[in-house]
Symmetry: C2
Subunit: 223 residues, 2 copies
């Protein structure tokens, strides 16, 4: 049975990416990262999502990006914006997906898992550079030069099944695969008990997706 | 004054890379990584090296790669080899330089430091894939697609001033720049007090470098 490492944040997108990997017949090894994010409640959601999907293993790695800061998600003195803007917002975390994929790559190489799933999306998203196809392609190329497995002729593939889907299409795909969205948490400033603010960009993108699809969002909102 | 992030392991090579960055006029921000390595004593050496070089800041990031394992440096059940072999040895840590450079990239972006120094070498080395020029070039390309700074037209450069030098040439360069090699520690299985084994590949490459140059190595060896 082929193996995959799947980055699971606790959000909607990665839950669907995990469900797709499972549906495609992969033995799923879920990886979640505690990087000191403001919305730590997403890690509890990640655990619930991984458990519901019956992954082989759910690993957590911890390191503290608040010592670097530079983002509203890793520096509490920077407020989470509640309005859309035309530029990359302050919720961008410098090099986050590069770091996450690097850690996933390390684990994948140890497991001899040559598929790494990440739920990035470049349609209904915040313009983060590390969600775009060009970034993913360049990471994949680099990964195969970086590793012993790559040198020995194996080929790592970064799987991004959601990258060209709208949020509504992602939710629809998840519902088809039995994803329980009540377990997921998208909000950048969720309370410890998992209540979403309803106004940050992650909340707004999520709400619009459910609305476009005409399905109700099971998320408990503060407002 | 232009800024740089320099990965400082505590070993000989990164001490010289740091000295070169300093000599080139960079404001130096040193980064060391506690990844659960067997030779934790190198972190004390890293601190001494960074202090001696009068860096602006020395940051440590901690995460535990022993939960992933797959290397003699992160899994104590795998012995450190004491003989050379023709293939990539078990001291290779999956995706280590990718992870290190990713963390350096995140910090560099926050600092607006567009030069990242790493003391990789592809001459007197252990054949690790993530020390080769092709890997470094691909990482640099990826970094500029991954980041907000890259999108906004800034360009990150991965600086590898040692990549084509022999170990003797690296030591010679360091001596010219005033590096105190007694502060550095290369051994993969150094004791907590900083005694080197003298037989692992890191020790053998180091010893040969000093020998080729005709200079005595200040490292305290167990044998």
């Amino acid at each position: 049975m082929k193996k995959a490492v799947i980055l699971v944040s606790g959000g909607l997108d990665s839950a669907v990416a995990l469900a797709i990997a499972k549906d495609e017949g992969y033995q799923c090894h879920a990886l979640s990262i505690d990087y000191g994010q403001r919305h730590k409640a997403e890690l509890k959601a990640a655990h619930q999502v991984a458990t519901q999907t019956s992954v082989v293993e759910h690993k957590w790695l911890t390191f503290d990006l608040t010592t670097i800061g530079g983002s509203a998600l890793t520096d509490n003195s920077i407020a989470v914006p509640t309005q859309s803007i035309d530029t990359i917002p302050v919720t961008y975390v410098p090099a986050r997906n590069t770091i996450f994929l690097s850690l996933a790559l390390g684990w994948a190489e140890v497991l001899s898992a040559f598929d790494i799933f990440i739920g990035v999306n470049a349609v209904d998203y915040s313009g983060y550079p590390d969600c775009r196809p060009a970034f993913i392609e360049s990471f994949e190329h680099m990964a195969n030069l970086a590793t012993k497995s790559g040198v020995e002729g194996q080929s790592f593939k970064i799987q991004t099944p959601l990258i060209k889907l709208s949020k509504a299409e992602i939710i629809e795909k998840g519902l088809t695969l039995g994803v329980d969205f009540s377990l997921t948490l998208s909000c950048y400033q969720a309370t410890d008990k998992g209540y979403a603010c309803g106004v940050c960009e992650a909340c707004r993108l999520r709400a619009k997706g459910f609305q476009d699809l005409g399905v109700s969002d099971p998320t408990p909102y503060l407002i």
